[in-house]
Amino acid sequence: MRLFRDLLRDVRFAVAFWVLCLLLTFAALSLFSPYDPTRWGQVPRDLRPSAEHWLGTDSNGQDVFWNATFAVRNSLIIAVIAGVVSRIIAVIVGMVAGYRGGSWDRALMFLSDSLLVIPLFLIIVMMAMLIRASLNLATLGLLLAFFGWAWDARLIRSQILSLRERDFTQTAILSGTGTLKLVLNEYMPYAMPLIFSTLINNMAWAIGLEITLAILGLLDMSIPTLGTMLYWAINYQAILLGRWWWVLTPITLSVMLFIALYWLSVSISEYLDPRTRVQRVGA
């Protein structure tokens, strides 16, 4: 809790934290939505914002406010699935590569280097294109998770490498601690902050890709997400027709989300990494 209080003194962290709380509340409101997000024509089309429809309605006959609560919720679900699953892959790869070393290390790092160099976006588009029919929140999250671990596995590996040099590793090995136990008990606590800050970055990456894939029409368009909302708005020429409330709602929400996630991760990693933290000291 002291950590949290320290962090809250950083303006960026405080702003990001409260914006995220706001967005989470907003997403939670979807539970109380009077409308079914998958059905169209539930309200009159293309109404401007009013007391009855706070953010107006769209050309599909959906209420923009309530639809947006589902969109934020679903985009976050995709991001959490992608983030958590890819963390698991990244942790396993990073720990095995860092701890086992040798040819394991070389092979795994070659794999992750390859993923970094290859234009992944195109591969993901290819796959999304082929499995579009079965692309729901979970499968999209898994698809993104499958490709989103490479960079973070590298970071975790280098942390393990530096931990391995420390005394307690030798002590633990000499006292007969098993590898798995050593990794879980001794290394995980040190790697945890890093895993958390990469999780946030990875979630932002996943939401960005979700939006992009949706714009390309590669998702199930009946599921409201930030991306599909924007897709429908663009598809119905909402900009040319002056329906700004429809376009600006998903844009504003996603900008808030991206900035909040980024600021959160920056302030946490600055707090954790003494080398970047030194900069905030003094003067």
């Binding site: 070659f110 290819m126 796959m127 960005g208 939006i211 390309l216 080398r275």
Partner: protein, 334 residues
């Protein structure tokens, strides 16, 4: 030493990555459950593509060849590589029977022009400003730039390009909404055409430039602050070396080294970003070609673009990697 520890591993990696990437492209449609040929045809029909008589047969046999329904997977795989080595990426289904390679080559100059200028400029300018901002971290202009970068950097390419489009093309009407040049103009080396191209490229270029310059700015600022803490900088200061020399020859020059590696590592991301930006502005490069291929279900074209991009990006990364030793004597004289 240099050959063995630096050059050869990178060349091996280069070949292996291309091998791995293209193999993945080959296997992806095969590992998925349903018949790729039938699905592709169904997809094209669903999108109402008009097919001339006879074209369908050619497409089916093309698809069968490409997806390799002849012989074992191994035979198919060899045949796939054989075609690649002849530069044959098959034909586009949608713009039948134009070869995929021709379509790519038409779009390529646009993408290369846009990407090369924005990548190099944003790297150079982002690092230069970031370098000074890192050295003078407590000045107010440095803090202001940092605050701007903190807001811009997290935005994904799509959202940022779209926001610029809304603001400058729809709202303020300063720049054209879409395209690479005025409609109906024939490409030529004449001033009006070049002017039109430049005019149309302002917004797409600006989107890519601002986003990546903000990223280089921030990482450079951080690297410089770390280099600043190195003892050779403290030593030069305590020996009264002129500040201009310290900034340029000690701090920025050393801080650029990780940024060169960073350029190599992020080329793939920048490239993807450029594709998406092109889509937003309907800029006639590879991105828009990709978009049309997706909309029309032209799987062969997507595959061609992917294979081409894998080769192009890994080669660019290799070039950046091979240039690194020129800047770092510790690698050059290992």
């Amino acid at each position: 030493m240099f050959l063995k520890q630096y050059l050869i591993p990178r060349l091996i990696q280069y070949v292996l990555v291309i091998l791995l990437g293209i193999t993945a492209v080959f296997f992806i449609p095969r590992l998925l459950p349903n018949d790729p040929v039938l699905r592709t045809i169904a997809e094209m029909r669903a999108r109402g593509a008009y097919l001339e008589p006879g074209a369908m047969d050619k497409i089916i046999s093309d698809l069968q060849q490409m997806y390799g329904l002849e012989g074992s997977w191994f035979d198919q795989y060899l045949a796939f590589w054989g075609r690649l080595f002849r530069g044959d990426l098959g034909v586009s289904f949608f713009q039948f029977p134009t070869p995929v390679l021709d379509l790519i080559m038409t779009a390529l100059p646009w993408t290369v022009g846009l990407l090369l200028t924005t990548t190099l400029l944003s790297w150079a300018i982002g690092n230069l400003i970031g370098g000074f901002a890192g050295y003078y971290a407590d000045r107010s202009w440095s803090r202001t730039l940092d605050a701007i970068a903190m807001v811009v950097r997290p935005l994904p390419y799509y959202i940022f390009a779209f926001a610029l489009l809304l603001l400058f093309a729809y709202l303020l009407r300063w720049f054209p909404v879409s395209g690479g040049a005025r409609l109906g103009m024939r490409p030529s080396w004449t001033w009006p055409f070049i002017q039109s191209v430049l005019w149309h490229s302002v917004l797409p270029a600006l989107s890519i430039f601002i986003l990546s310059a903000a990223a280089w700015f921030q990482t450079m600022k951080l690297v410089v602050q770390n280099v600043n803490a190195e003892s050779f900088v403290a030593y030069a200061k305590l020996s009264g070396v002129q500040e201009s020399r310290i900034v340029s020859r000690y701090v920025i020059r050393n801080a650029l080294l990780p940024q060169i590696t960073g350029l190599g590592l992020s080329l793939g991301l920048i490239f993807s970003g450029a594709l998406i930006t092109e889509i937003v502005y309907s800029y006639p490069g590879l991105g828009t070609l990709l978009y049309n291929a997706i909309v029309n279900g032209d799987y062969n074209l997507i595959m061609g673009i992917t294979i081409f991009s894998i080769i192009a990006i890994t080669t660019s990364v290799l070039i950046v990697d091979l240039m690194y030793p020129f800047f770092d004597p510790r690698i050059r004289y290992m």
